[in-house]
Structures are given as structure tokens and as C-alpha cells.
């Protein structure tokens, strides 16, 4: 599992995840992802397009990050999940509490300037 961080502009950061979000994958990015998502207030778009597999442990990571941001006044949204990944998000109710957008552009538009 890999992650890359891009500052889209001064108020929005894109974190692209790449690989399997299972136990191994999540552990591989855990510290870096946790640091990027919970240590300061930010607006974050998590690009899931390259995530080929999402298990409950990955959901836990996403929920922790979203909760960390919401308690700091920031916002975290998900973008571009593959259909099966989307199904996992839907059937655990994640879509009810974290906004999910079909692509990064739509997610960006959710943060008006």
C-alpha cells in the first residue's frame, strides 16, 4: 500500500491511496496517514481510485481520520472508489457519514472557495 500527498491549493489537500486496504496495507500507511489526517485541521480529499480492495480494517482507518478531522473542524471526503469498494462502503453505512464523490473533480467542487 502506498500513499501520496498533494496540496491542491492552500485550503485543500489530496491524499491518493494505492493498493489493498487490508491489514497489511493499512499498517503500511498507518502512521503517515494518521499524521497527515489527524494532527492538524485540514480539508482532505482521499482518492480511492487505485484502492483495489477495502476490508473492515481499512474502513476503521478512514473513519478514524474523518472523525479526527471533524473534531478539529476540518473535513474529509472520499473520491472515486471502484464499484466493489463502494459496495463495502455502502454496506457498512460509511456513505451515511462521510461524503463520497464519483471522482476527484466532484470532490473538489464540494469545497467552495
Amino acid at each position: 500500500m502506498k500513499m501520496s500527498v498533494t496540496e491542491l491549493d492552500e485550503r485543500l489537500t489530496l491524499i491518493a491511496l494505492d493498493g489493498r486496504m487490508d491489514l497489511e496495507g493499512t499498517q503500511a500507511i498507518d502512521q503517515q496517514f494518521g499524521f497527515q489526517t489527524t494532527t492538524q485541521k485540514r480539508n482532505l480529499v482521499i482518492d480511492l481510485s487505485q484502492v483495489s480492495f477495502l476490508a473492515s480494517i481499512g474502513i476503521r482507518t478512514l473513519l478514524t481520520a474523518a472523525r479526527g478531522q471533524s473534531s478539529r473542524g476540518g473535513k474529509l471526503v472520499l473520491a472515486a472508489p471502484e464499484p466493489m469498494v463502494r459496495k463495502v462502503l455502502d454496506s457498512t453505512g460509511v456513505d451515511q457519514i462521510i461524503p463520497i464523490y464519483p471522482d476527484v473533480a466532484a470532490a473538489r467542487a464540494a469545497f467552495p472557495a
Binding site: 487490508d22 491489514l23 476490508a55 473492515s56 476503521r60 466493489m84 459496495k87 455502502d90
Partner: protein, 588 residues
């Protein structure tokens, strides 16, 4: 799909590495059975979630056991059976997770089993002797339906457990979560209690049919020590708490639905030894003593079940006592280490320190009192050349062990840099601070920092050259000039920006001058009412008192702060370094 294409079984140890192995195996099975990408995903998900559940919960941490995965052709697809010999656990009885309304309610956990039930087309569980046997079936191309179902809004608001109805191996059809529904008693809920395991239902019904069901409100005390207990209470809904000391003590045992209370005092006929309190709204079935002893205990299996429950309770209470003893030992060890750390620190920075005898022209006295066992403040004073005295004071952010370690590092670096050969007398303090700052900042992943004031006093001319990194300015008393704070260059704290620059200032101290370096533990000392000692009070102290030695200066300040605080415990370390310059005046 033919019988020959069946993948060989996979044997694993229930530890985290098993999940990746099981997942790879699942993909191989899916490929062998020509499942498409979505079905292969579902098989992978179900297997890895279930294997994760087994590795986490089935076995005690210290003894991970085995698990076995078998893949076989099922009538409509592929079936994987996972067998473990851990604690009995029927995943089909787990209630579905509640869908949180907001992020703050979201408890990230307990989703694994739910995902399995959602994504498998059928699941069955049975306990086979000492084994949990869980079977999951994936039927090709069923995902489309599941997908449509889960993406409907109404479904998501009331999540369904998924995979129901299920057929259990004993032939019973489980239409829905069997522990939900209002009429639990009639559906045999009570007969599933541990105490009634294997007891024929009709015999049980005959005995329990006459026993009353009572409701209790949250916090209601059912029994007190000394009471005569009349009933065995079987918890149908809600929870009871058993407290040994007071009805609201933090240390209690919880009795959950399916469990019972009151059996001890019924069995030995003695009075109640603890408080029994309703933790929330409770519904209890009350079995009176006579019925319990004469009709219930005589039913087959009840006595045995009862004994096994009592044995388990005794074991768990033993375990708790051992854990408590262990954590007490661990705490004592930590305390010992802290006290060693305190001693080491005290030997580096004595609480009281006087640097005088050999050098009549300058007197120096230091004082430090840490707010906890170890502190983050420091002071230092030593000669770098026969007539040049280096002085420093600092305050490391934070408190406790992390601050103490950084403090030691900062102090060591300062001493090392200050002791290096002086290339440029005027610029020495600047070079010292810049070099210490660079070294601290370059290896500072945690963002810790420190404020430092340091200077070099030429003991024959009285010239003090000094630099400052975000520290509080010292108090200076020079001849008849008014008592004031020394003007210091405004430069950043050290440890953050490696390339920060530090300016140097100079001041001539005529013989008889006094300089007081201190940390904010002095000016921010607080009374119980929240009033602060403050900078003005510190200046006033110097206006009114005319102490003769550095030691007296230090003592006066400490005493004034202590009197002011009136014994109120302080959160900051209290540290100071007083210097009296006598120049070539004859020693007192």
C-alpha cells in the same frame, strides 16, 4: 467445476500474517473456480474478514491456535469452510452494527462479521465438539442483486443483518436475529441461558412458568450487604452491577443478559455480601429460594451448569486480582525509574548550587525545583577560560520524562559548544546558540523546543555579552540605575528552525551589579485564586531588598515566590541563577 479442481486445504496459525495468506489463497480458489473479479473480491473479503476475526478473538493472545480453510464446490458456486478450535462463537447470532447518525457516534469496529454476512450468499455455523465451523458460500453473479439491495437508501437506514434466513446445521431455520423481538421468554430466550444449557425446555417451562418477571429502573439498588436474599435473579434485559464497597464505586462486576445474580447467598444461606444495582433499565426473572433449591437445582444439568458458572466467576476474579497485583508492580517499577531519573537530574543540576570560593570577583548561585519528579528547566555556570564565565538558563517545552530528556540534551550541547575554543570573543554566545539550535532542530521529529538565555561574563572588565532564544529577559541591577529587565535580542526559540540566526548584545556590569536569570516558573507562580506572581512583583523585590551575596538573592526570590503561592501546588518548574559581580573590589 470438477472435483479435481478443488484447492488443497490451507493450514494457518491464528496470527495477523494468516490474513494475507488466507487472502492470497482465496484469490487462488476464485481463479480455479473461474469466479469473476467481483465474486473473487467477495470471496477474498469474506475469508479475510473471518480469518481476522478468528486471529483476534478465538484464542488467548499468548496461545494462538490453528485454523484450517477448505474450499469446495457447492451446488451453485464455491463454499469455503473455516475451522478453528478457539472459544465458541456463532457469528450469525451477532446483532447487526447500528448505523451511526454522525461521525462522532461512529465506533469503527465490529464491521468484519457484518461484511461477511452482507457479501456471502449464504453462511452457516456450527460447533463441532471443540471446533467452530463456519461455512461461507459465494454464488457467481449474485453480487449484482446484493449491490442493488445495499445501494437502496431505505436499506441503509435500517441495516439488515444479511444472509438471513440461514439454515443451521442442526436443521433449525434462523429467520432473524434470535435475540431480538419483544417476546423473548416465549421464544425460549431464557432457556438459552447458560445455567439451563441442555435442560429439556418443557421441564424448565414448568418450573419457571410460575416465577414473576420484574422491571427495575436505572440506579435502583436491589440488594445491600447484610440483606437476606430471597431470589435468584436471571437477567433478561439490561445489566446489573455488583459492587463490593459502595453502590457507586468504580470497581464492579457486570451481570449481562443470560447471566444471573443472587445464587451465592441462596446456596449458602448467608446474608448478601455486596450491592446489587440496576445499571440501566432491567428486566429480571425472579426465582424464589424454595423453587431454586428444590425444583430448579434438581433438574438435570442445572447443578452442573451452575458449578461451571461459579468456577468461571472464581477464575475471572482470580485473574482480576492477579492483573491488579501486576499493574501495581509495574507502577512501582516506573516510580523507581522516575526516582532514579530524578537523582540523575539532581546530580546534574543541584537544587542549590553556589559557585564562588576560588573566584572572589564573581559569585553565582543556582536553584531549581521541578514540579514533578523530573523537570524540563536547567541552569549552568562554568568558566570557559580563566577570566570568562559562561552562564545559561533554559526551559524546555512540556514536562515529565520527554522534557527531561530534551533538557539533558540541550544542556549537554550547550556545555559542549560553549567549551569549544573561542574564535571570536564577541560572537561566541551567538555561535554557541546557533550551533546548538542547528543540532537540536535537525533531529527533532517531535517538534519539541526550548527557550535559552546564555552569556559570557568577562570577570576583569565586567563586560557581559549575551544572546537569547525566546527566553524571559533577566533582571539587572547596576549601581544606582533603576532596577530593570535586561534588553534582549528578540530571537526564536531553539530546536525548530535549523538556520535561525541569533544576535549578540553587550552590557557592562560595574562592580556591585546583580543579574538574575530565571524561568517563567517564577513570574507565573500562581496562588490558589489564580493570581500570578508577575514581572512587576519581581522587580519590586529587588527595589526593596539589598542582598549582599548571590545565594541571598536566590533565597530571597524563592522565598518571595513560596510566600506568594502560599503552598498552592505549582505546575511549572521553578529555576533561577543569580549572579553578583564584584569585579576587583576586595572580597567581602
Amino acid at each position: 467445476m470438477s472435483a479435481e479442481s478443488v484447492s488443497p486445504p490451507l493450514h494457518l496459525h491464528a496470527q495477523p500474517a494468516a490474513i494475507a495468506a488466507a487472502s492470497a489463497w482465496a484469490r487462488a480458489c476464485a481463479a480455479q473456480h473461474n469466479l469473476d473479479e467481483d465474486d473473487s473480491y467477495r470471496l477474498d473479503l469474506c475469508i479475510s474478514e473471518w480469518v481476522e476475526n478468528v486471529t483476534r478473538y478465538a484464542y488467548p493472545d499468548y496461545a494462538p491456535g490453528a485454523l484450517e480453510l477448505r474450499c469446495a464446490v457447492a451446488p451453485d458456486g464455491v463454499a469455503v469452510t473455516v475451522t478453528d478450535s478457539g472459544r465458541p462463537f456463532d457469528p450469525l447470532l451477532l446483532p447487526p452494527p447500528h448505523t451511526p447518525a454522525t461521525l462522532t457516534d461512529a465506533t469503527p469496529g465490529g464491521l468484519g462479521v457484518h461484511l461477511v454476512r452482507k457479501f456471502a450468499d449464504a453462511c452457516t455455523y456450527h460447533r463441532d465438539g471443540e471446533h467452530n465451523v463456519f461455512r461461507m458460500e459465494i454464488r457467481p453473479h449474485a453480487a449484482g442483486e446484493a449491490g442493488t439491495r445495499t445501494s437502496r437508501g431505505a436499506d441503509r437506514r435500517t441495516p439488515e443483518p444479511g444472509a438471513f434466513p440461514v439454515t443451521r446445521t442442526d436443521g433449525a431455520v434462523v429467520a432473524d436475529e434470535p435475540r431480538s423481538g419483544r417476546d423473548r421468554r416465549d421464544s425460549g430466550f431464557i432457556s438459552s441461558f447458560r445455567i439451563f444449557r441442555n435442560v429439556p425446555y418443557d421441564e424448565l417451562e414448568k418450573v419457571l412458568g410460575s416465577c414473576p418477571v420484574s422491571e427495575f429502573t436505572e440506579g435502583e439498588v436491589l440488594l445491600r450487604p447484610g440483606d437476606r436474599n430471597q431470589y435468584l435473579a436471571l437477567v433478561i434485559r439490561g445489566r446489573l452491577r455488583i459492587h463490593l464497597e459502595t453502590p457507586d464505586s468504580d470497581d464492579y462486576v457486570e451481570i449481562a443478559p443470560g447471566d444471573c445474580a443472587g445464587e451465592m447467598s441462596l446456596v449458602d444461606g448467608r446474608s448478601v455480601s455486596a450491592y446489587v444495582v440496576a445499571h440501566d433499565r432491567c428486566r429480571l426473572l425472579l426465582v424464589d429460594g424454595h423453587t431454586f433449591l428444590n425444583r430448579l437445582l434438581t433438574l438435570p444439568h442445572v447443578a452442573r451448569n451452575m458449578l461451571s458458572m461459579l468456577a468461571e466467576r472464581m477464575r475471572s476474579s482470580n485473574t482480576r486480582s492477579i492483573e491488579r497485583a501486576k499493574s501495581a508492580v509495574a507502577l512501582a517499577a516506573l516510580q523507581r525509574e522516575l526516582s532514579v531519573a530524578h537523582d540523575i537530574q539532581a546530580s546534574m543540576i543541584p537544587e542549590r548550587f553556589v559557585l564562588t570560593p576560588a573566584r572572589p570577583e564573581v559569585e553565582c548561585a543556582g536553584f531549581m525545583r521541578a514540579a514533578r519528579e523530573v523537570g524540563g528547566d536547567f541552569y549552568d555556570a562554568f568558566y570557559i577560560e580563566p577570566n570568562r564565565l559562561f552562564i545559561a538558563i533554559g526551559d524546555v517545552c512540556g514536562k515529565g520524562m520527554a522534557a527531561a530528556l530534551l533538557m539533558v540534551r540541550t544542556m549537554m550541547l550547550l556545555a559542549a559548544e560553549a567549551s569549544k575554543p573561542v574564535l571570536n570573543q564577541r560572537m561566541h554566545t551567538r555561535a554557541v546558540l546557533e550551533s546548538v539550535n542547528r543540532q537540536l532542530a535537525e533531529k527533532n521529529d517531535n517538534g519539541y523546543f526550548a527557550s535559552v538565555f546564555c552569556g559570557v561574563l568577562h570577570t576583569t572588565t565586567g563586560l557581559l555579552s549575551y544572546a537569547n532564544a525566546g527566553h524571559t529577559p533577566p533582571v539587572v541591577v547596576r549601581g544606582r540605575a533603576p532596577v530593570c529587565y535586561l534588553e534582549v535580542p528578540r530571537n526564536p526559540i531553539i530546536g525548530i528552525v535549523p538556520e535561525a540566526e541569533y544576535g549578540v548584545s553587550e552590557l557592562v556590569m560595574p562592580p556591585g551589579s546583580t543579574l538574575l536569570l530565571y524561568t517563567d516558573g517564577v513570574t507565573e507562580a500562581e496562588t490558589a485564586g489564580g493570581e500570578m506572581f508577575g514581572e512587576e512583583r519581581l522587580l519590586e523585590l529587588f527595589r526593596t531588598k539589598k542582598p549582599r551575596t548571590a545565594e541571598m538573592v536566590a533565597d530571597d526570590v524563592v522565598q518571595a515566590v513560596d510566600t506568594f503561592a502560599g503552598g498552592y501546588p505549582q505546575s511549572d518548574d521553578l529555576t533561577l541563577l543569580a549572579l553578583v559581580y564584584r569585579g576587583d573590589a576586595p572580597p567581602a
